[in-house]
């Protein structure tokens, strides 16, 4: 019984929220508000799981130092206080510091050094003219797109550099075309999942 009720709830909510694409009506508004409520609740439940298993249970197991993040986490709620707002700055300062440190240390290697290292393409691949031509195209594209993103260097505004950077922009537009087509594929796939639910599981036409 619970399964059948569940199936109908699922189907009705799916249709209700789809109408959002057509027009903002009380029906779609209701669905949207339920959505916001339950999604937020779910993330609170998951967050509680982390506080419980990584914070509290370690304290009870004798790892007393984990009382620190719990206190800091509670301090974060001073964000809603007008007078003692500054207390919130301690936990957020730590979270920002940790996040920035973790990202910055890896960015140098992954986004910069390794990218450059992988770009030493040979323009003379023995016995494979196609590969050589492709490497040349990649080189021109990469360099011209990099030149396109130079903003404070006057040399990069010379006639050749300007032409290259225009080419760079065109190459990026072609890539965006590819990416845009892929976006359409993603969205259709997502909706296809819903349609196959409605047709196969709810209406059981298959």
């Amino acid at each position: 019984m619970a399964d059948v009720i569940g199936l109908w709830i699922q189907a009705i909510l799916t249709i209700m929220i789809t109408t959002l694409a057509w027009k903002d009506t009380p029906v779609s508004k209701t669905a949207e508000h339920i959505y916001v409520g339950v999604v937020t609740a779910n993330s609170i439940v998951m967050a509680w799981g982390n506080i419980d298993s990584i914070g509290l249970s370690k304290i009870f197991a004798g790892d007393i130092i984990y009382i620190l993040p719990v206190i800091l986490g509670l301090m974060a709620y001073f964000r809603y206080s007008k007078e003692n707002f500054w207390i919130y700055r301690y936990p957020i300062a730590l979270v920002v510091g940790i996040g920035v440190g973790t990202a910055m240390r890896g960015l140098v290697g992954s986004s910069v050094i390794d990218q450059v290292k992988d770009s030493f393409w040979s323009l003379n691949v023995p016995g494979d003219i196609g590969a050589s031509v492709n490497n040349l195209i990649m080189l021109v594209t990469l360099v011209s797109a990099l030149i396109y993103f130079l903003f404070t260097i006057k040399v990069a505004r010379g006639p050749i550099a300007t032409r290259l950077s225009t080419f760079g922009r065109y190459a990026m537009m072609a890539s965006f075309g590819y990416s845009f087509a892929n976006t359409i594929a993603t969205r259709i796939n997502q909706y296809a999942g819903r349609i196959s639910f409605l047709v196969l599981e709810w209406l059981q036409l298959g």
């Binding site: 799981g49 940790i98 986004s111 892929n182 976006t183 594929a185 993603t186 997502q190 819903r194 349609i195």
Partner: protein, 280 residues
């Protein structure tokens, strides 16, 4: 020119309800009557297949089952087919989640994979650790020392009671043979690439939304050994590995939906050129 621009106007201003209904009706029709065209397999998918195929019995895969309900339609088939392949290779699987919705979606997928039927025992051959907050710093912590981070699994069994977790030990990255990330968030893949593939040279494959593939391509093949291109990639994997699944069905629906979008994109532009010709 007047008549021409009239047609142009009509073409450019067909009602959207017609367009939307066409998409829905044709996709629903295709669900019941699949087209069944052969699916070509691209090299990105073959690289993912090879990475799994190279695993030895007893090797450990770290999986981030980081998809939410929004992208479940195509991430779940990908997860299922890779998991099945891993079981056949005898590899052990450690599952964590970096999206708040994903732990709730795991049971659905496990019901379809049925690891127990292949003699895969929970706790010994695979574990599910659930959601972990905190983003990139948390990934760094996982590959560094997973037992220091998690004290219990999703069902709240202490990790000390799970043999697979004991096997992982310190430092964790030395025991991991492959990292497989499923996600719809760009920062997630790049964060994992930096903390695992770049830092410890771990083998790394990922399944992302089709739209994210271009942003991951620069990392391939230096730090990323294979990319499953969303639903398209999952379907290719199913075809290439021979495990039948839902992604192939999805690919037919995508063809139909894509066809409608394509026709309307072209119609809209023809209409635009005809009216522009009329006005100038």
């Amino acid at each position: 020119m007047g008549e021409q621009s009239g047609i142009g106007n009509t073409l450019a201003n067909l009602p959207t309800w017609l367009y939307f209904s066409l998409i829905i009706i044709l996709m629903a029709y295709i669900t019941l009557n699949p087209l069944g065209f052969p699916i070509p397999v691209t090299s990105l998918t073959i690289d993912c297949y090879d990475a799994i195929d190279a695993l030895q019995p007893g090797d450990i895969i770290l999986m981030d089952q980081g998809y939410g309900a929004g992208t479940m339609a195509f991430h779940e088939p990908g997860f299922i087919v890779v998991f099945r392949h891993a079981i056949d290779k005898g590899a052990k699987v450690v599952i964590v989640s970096t999206s708040v919705e994903s732990p709730m979606l795991l049971q659905r997928a496990i019901d379809k994979i049925k690891p127990a039927a292949k003699g895969y025992e929970y706790g010994v051959d695979w574990v599910h650790l659930g959601y972990v907050a905190g983003g990139e710093p948390a990934y760094a912590s996982i590959v560094e020392d997973i037992n220091n981070l998690f004290t219990e699994d999703w069902e709240q069994t202490p990790t000390s009671a799970l043999p697979l977790m004991q096997e992982l030990g310190v430092p964790t990255h030395e025991k991991i043979a492959l990292v497989y990330i499923m996600t719809a968030g760009g920062d997630v893949v790049e964060g994992w690439i930096r903390q695992s593939a770049l830092r410890y040279d771990l083998k790394f494959i990922t399944q992302v939304n089709e739209m994210m593939v271009p942003t991951i391509l620069p990392y391939y093949p230096i730090n990323c050994d294979g990319i499953l291109n969303g639903g398209v990639g999952a379907a290719e994997y199913e075809v290439y590995s021979g495990y039948s699944g839902e992604a192939v069905k999805l690919s037919d629906m995508m063809t139909m939906g894509g066809l409608v979008v394509l026709v309307f994109l072209i119609l809209g532009n023809i209409g635009y050129f005809m009216t522009k010709g009329g006005s100038s």
